[in-house]
């Protein structure tokens, strides 16, 4: 998809979420969904397969997100998938998150963890990262079992990696 079209979709999502008054929640839910689409080849295949009817793809989205995400988020993802832009969902959502962060003069910080963080941990981590980088951050936590343990935080070009996966890789290299 062209950059202008991604920009247009992200702007539309942003406007809808803002109008619904739950931008922070929608942004967070869409971010998780985008990462799920990114990491699961099977899910990506279903949501982007043009031979599967749009209704069926939207049904999959509703089954997947229903009960776990807000109605706005489900409808927005369903809209994107139904219009045949499922492949661009991660890019559209990333742009939405950037837009939302910019509105709050914040920078996006993506944190990957093998297990989910508690609210307290998320809050403390956001504070610690803000203190460390000297920037206001919009923290997005992604549960990624491939990191095995520990966390990896990406803030702009800066990466703070303290995952078990990376340590094992280092040990392998040393061996």
């Amino acid at each position: 998809m062209s950059d202008a079209r991604i920009e247009a979709y992200s702007r539309a999502l942003f406007e809808v979420a803002q109008a619904e008054g739950n931008l922070a929640v929608v942004e967070d839910e869409l971010f998780r969904m985008a990462r799920a689409v990114e990491s699961s080849e099977q899910l990506r295949g279903i949501l982007t397969d043009a031979t599967i009817p749009a209704e069926r793809r939207q049904q999959v989205v509703e089954q997947l997100m229903g009960g776990k995400a807000s109605n706005t988020s489900v409808q927005l993802v369903s809209l994107i998938v139904g219009s045949g832009r499922g492949r661009d969902l991660p890019a559209i959502v990333d742009r939405l998150v950037q837009r939302a962060s910019s509105e709050q003069q914040r920078e996006v910080a993506e944190v990957r963890s093998a297990v989910a963080l508690s609210d307290d941990q998320t809050k403390r981590l956001a504070e610690a990262l803000s203190k460390s980088t000297g920037r206001k951050l919009n923290l997005k936590v992604v549960v990624d079992p491939s990191v095995l343990g520990g966390l990896v935080a990406t803030v702009g070009d800066e990466v703070i990696d303290d995952t078990v996966r990376t340590r094992l890789e280092q040990i392998k290299t040393r061996i």
């Binding site: 343990g149 303290d162 094992l168």
Partner: protein, 181 residues
């Protein structure tokens, strides 16, 4: 008339000569003259032809003699050439045999030297291969040990990553990031 004829025949009998050997004088005279004329004619007209014929014949014989002499000379030259060639052939045979001997000796020496060199090269290659194989085996062994160690480490770490360990890692990360500035 008859009487006159009879009288003439009665005077000279043509069937009778004066002498049994010698002819009549007149006959000698015109016979001799005729002979002289015939002789002169022959001398005048046939003489040069006979002379030329004789000369040609002489020349032809001389030419044949010269040809025979030349042929003989050529035969002698050929014979000498053949005799010399025979001598040359013998010398050539000896020369060829000598050269063949020399070449055979050189080839033998060359082949022997090449074989010695090849054997030395093969020995060197075998030694190098042996060393390389030994090194390769060592490297493969080290690689295998590294792979197994790595797999074992991964398994051990994954097994030890229980909920408590995960939380400790998260807390450790938060603490270290917070203390970084």
């Amino acid at each position: 008339m008859n009487l006159l004829v009879t009288a003439l025949f009665a005077v000279e009998d043509p069937t009778q000569t004066h002498h049994w050997l010698l002819p009549e004088t007149a006959e000698i005279i015109y016979g001799g003259l005729a002979s002289v004329i015939v002789f002169l004619g022959l001398y005048k007209f046939a003489g040069p032809m006979v002379k030329k014929s004789m000369k040609d014949r002489t020349e032809k014989i001389q030419k044949e003699l010269d040809g025979a002499a030349a042929a003989r000379s050529k035969s002698e030259t050929d014979a000498a050439g053949i005799r010399q060639a025979l001598g040359d052939i013998e010398a050539e045979r000896r020369k060829i045999l000598a050269e063949a001997d020399a070449q055979a000796t050189a080839i033998l020496a060359d082949g022997r030297a090449r074989l010695v060199k090849e054997v030395a090269e093969l020995e060197a290659k075998a030694v190098a291969d042996l060393v390389a194989a030994r090194g390769r085996s060592g490297e493969e062994l080290r690689g295998e040990i590294a792979r197994l160690s790595s797999a074992a480490t991964s398994s051990a770490v994954a097994a030890s990553l229980n909920e408590r360990a995960q939380q400790e890692l998260i807390e450790s990360f938060i603490k270290s990031v917070g203390a970084a500035k």
